[in-house]
């Protein structure tokens, strides 16, 4: 239990006594993900690791707060604390009640969610929307906290989905909001490299980790993501990777490094086109090429 010792040491400064840490774990449990379809045991393995990690977070300090969300393609939900009343838990074989409650609630709500979402499975997980919900939740926690208490909030995203440039706009909105409100976004990529989410980690000061080995999920979570951001500076963590800051073009949602930007609305296109599809502005052609232009309203 090295983590607890570490925490105590850093707690010696007096100011941290009324600081609490709010962790929102977003687990991409979309059954459409490639690595979950290959092997059904993987989901249970990931879930157990996340529950153990969540409990480790609660164990660090009595005031620590936790929320766990599940992300799918048609819905996203809080699976802890779930909707409705907390489940009534009695102590079983000496386990601390809260831990039992976390485990039971998460498993109960997730199985309900998975059971309701079997009709047609879509592969895209709408992670940006889930982060947006998490940010609203964090904003409420900041509003209702008792005066004098400081809440440090962070979001940990655990996903095996691929990057989707179609969510580009939503991703950018949530990244900038998180940055503005000092919410750190950490990403643990289980299966594929995620360049957009990596940008989010860079913007908000979080950590990005592409898991080398799925078997070791819990170990990586505990080593890399359990320490709070201020403590991380003292640890030797995976070195920061160079972030790819290319833009996604509006026409094909593909990442490009040279593009054309509409002077009116700043939309990005990968090729020259005579009309902006975003604001319907007609552009002056660079060459003598006479293209029949659609009569669009040029003026307001």
């Amino acid at each position: 239990m090295n983590n607890i010792v570490l925490k105590r040491e850093s707690n010696t400064d007096f100011s941290s006594t009324d600081e609490t840490s709010l962790l929102v774990v977003i687990f991409d449990s979309n059954p459409g993900q490639q690595f979950l379809r290959d092997n059904t045991h993987v989901l249970t393995h990931c879930l157990d690791s996340i529950i153990a990690f969540s409990n480790a977070h609660l164990m660090q300090k009595a005031q620590n707060k936790l929320a766990v969300m599940a992300c799918h393609s048609k819905t996203s939900q809080f699976i802890f604390p779930g909707p409705g009343k907390p489940i009534d838990i009695r102590q079983t074989d000496g386990q601390y009640e809260i831990f039992t409650m976390v485990e039971k609630t998460i498993k109960h709500n997730l199985s309900k969610l998975l059971g309701s979402d079997i009709s047609n499975i879509l592969t895209e997980s709408l992670l940006a929307g889930t982060i947006a919900m998490a940010l609203c939740y964090i904003a409420r926690m900041q509003r209702i906290k008792s005066p004098g208490i400081k809440i440090n909030s962070r979001i940990l995203l655990v996903t095996g989905s691929s990057d989707s440039a179609s969510q580009y706009m939503n991703y950018m909105n949530v990244f900038f909001t998180a940055q503005k409100h000092n919410v750190v976004i950490d990403v643990c990529a289980l299966d594929q490299h995620l360049s957009l989410l990596q940008q989010g980690c860079d913007i908000t000061g979080g950590l990005y980790l592409k898991l080398p080995q799925l078997q070791g999920l819990l170990q990586y979570l505990l080593w890399v993501f359990l320490p709070e951001p201020p403590i991380r500076e003292k640890l030797v963590l995976p070195p920061p990777v160079k972030v790819d800051y290319r833009a996604a073009c509006f026409c094909h949602r593909e990442l490009i490094d040279i593009g054309f930007v509409c002077s009116v609305c700043l939309s990005i296109f990968c090729k020259f086109s005579p009309i902006c599809t975003t604001c319907h502005t007609v552009f002056k052609m660079p060459g003598p090429l006479a293209v029949k232009q659609k009569k669009k309203k040029l003026k307001l």
């Binding site: 833009a247 593009g259 009116v264 552009f283």
Partner: protein, 398 residues
């Protein structure tokens, strides 16, 4: 709702000065209307006007014309008009560049019947903030000359390419202006050049300012107190509708990414921005941004590549302004009749005190008032729409 619940920030600082103007301003006949109320109503009104379909001038070139005359030493704003303005401009400039990533700004001060450019058109906030802050040592003398200020700004704005949106913002403490010739001629030229002029008055309405704003398509407002001043100033952060005579074009730009070095130590290289600067000297550094066309290195973005002329910007920086183009749909206010038990976003349980809840027209999810404000002021993404593939598409093709 009781009046005491209204957050009246800084009201105690301003005391009772100018409260008669707060009352005079309210033309609905409600004498007790507070300034906070006026601001709140204006905010809601502006929010509903944002539909995302209007053409905006995003490549902005803004000159701030700051009155530094005798009138700015008045203490009706605390500690003085000038110091209060400097403090507000500090925040405004940061916010302006945050929301208008590839825009430029310049600062001109007006005192002693002259105009003086203290900071040239540039896209970097640090320089402007530094210049503005150095103003607290300026002596506030004489009368301002709006005409001289406008002419100086115009001479610089004239040179810009036709797709650039040109704007002037005047912060005016004085009630008079001392102009060398007929200001109507200047106003006419500004109108022809498509320069949008807005004025924020710190004292009382001045006819010539009203006329200038009306003729050029800008706004004219007189502040009630420092809170109202801040609100008026921050309205200028949102890009204005594109001027009628504004040309549009597609501009080729590069989105540099850092060089991949695969675990090895990155080589020391020289950046183009410091290669011939005398005072700082050229430095050899690792890292930096490389032009995707010619691989010259720069240490700061945005910048125009000195070797090949390509404008280099960072994509996320550009993305900061996209919420102006794709704002989240406005929610409709509905009476709370236990339709749902929780706010979809923040999970707050609705109680009897929630008389109104807010519903999204696209995803029909229900939200609380706090989330409505948070989503439309800061987040710009509807959590309901963004978590469902079927509504997710609607918001992006509209």
């Amino acid at each position: 709702m009781g009046d005491e619940e209204e957050p009246k920030e800084y009201r105690w600082e301003t005391g009772y000065e100018k409260t008669w103007e707060a009352i005079k301003e309210d033309d609905d006949g409600f004498l007790e209307a507070s300034v906070a109320d006026i601001i709140q109503r204006a905010k809601r009104k502006r929010q509903t006007q944002k539909t995302g379909t209007t053409k905006l001038g995003m490549m902005r070139h803004l000159y701030i014309l700051l009155d530094c005359s005798d009138a700015m030493s008045s203490q009706d704003l605390k500690p003085t008009r000038l110091l209060c303005t400097i403090k507000l401009l500090d925040g405004f400039i940061e916010e302006f560049f945050d929301q208008n990533p590839i825009s430029q700004m310049g600062v001109i001060i007006m005192h002693n019947k002259r105009a003086e450019k203290i900071s040239d058109l540039a896209g970097n906030s640090h320089k402007h903030v530094k210049q503005i802050n150095s103003l607290n040592r300026t002596s506030l003398v004489g009368e301002p000359s709006i005409q001289n200020g406008l002419e100086m700004a115009l001479s610089s704005l004239k040179l810009l390419p036709t797709h650039a949106s040109r704007e002037i913002l005047i912060i005016m403490g004085s009630l008079t202006t001392c102009d060398p010739s007929d200001i109507n001629v200047t106003i006419e030229t500004l109108k022809q050049e498509g320069v949008r002029c807005s004025v924020i008055g710190l004292a009382a309405e001045v006819h010539v300012c009203r006329q200038l704003a009306n003729q050029t398509g800008g706004t004219y407002n007189v502040i009630l107190d420092d809170c109202h001043f801040k609100d008026l100033l921050y309205q200028q952060v949102d890009p204005p509708p594109a001027a009628v005579c504004l040309d549009s074009s597609l501009i080729k730009m590069g989105f540099p990414h850092q060089m991949e070095a695969d675990g090895k130590e990155e080589p020391l290289t020289m950046c183009m921005c410091h290669v011939d600067s005398v005072d700082e000297g050229s430095k050899l550094t690792t890292g930096g941004y490389y032009c995707p066309q010619c691989y010259s290195k720069y240490c700061e973005l945005p910048v125009e590549c000195r070797a090949c002329g390509l404008t280099l910007v960072s994509a996320p920086h550009l993305a900061r302004s996209y919420h102006h183009l794709f704002p989240a749909a406005n929610y409709t206010e509905v009476a709370f009749e236990k339709q749902v038990s929780l706010c979809f976003a923040c999970q707050k349980t609705f109680t009897e005190t929630d008389k109104q809840v807010y519903s999204c027209p696209n995803c029909s999810k229900t939200f609380c008032l706090d989330c409505d404000i948070f989503i439309h002021d800061t987040l710009h993404t509807c959590p309901g729409c963004a978590t469902n593939l079927s509504t997710f598409q609607i918001t992006h093709t509209s």
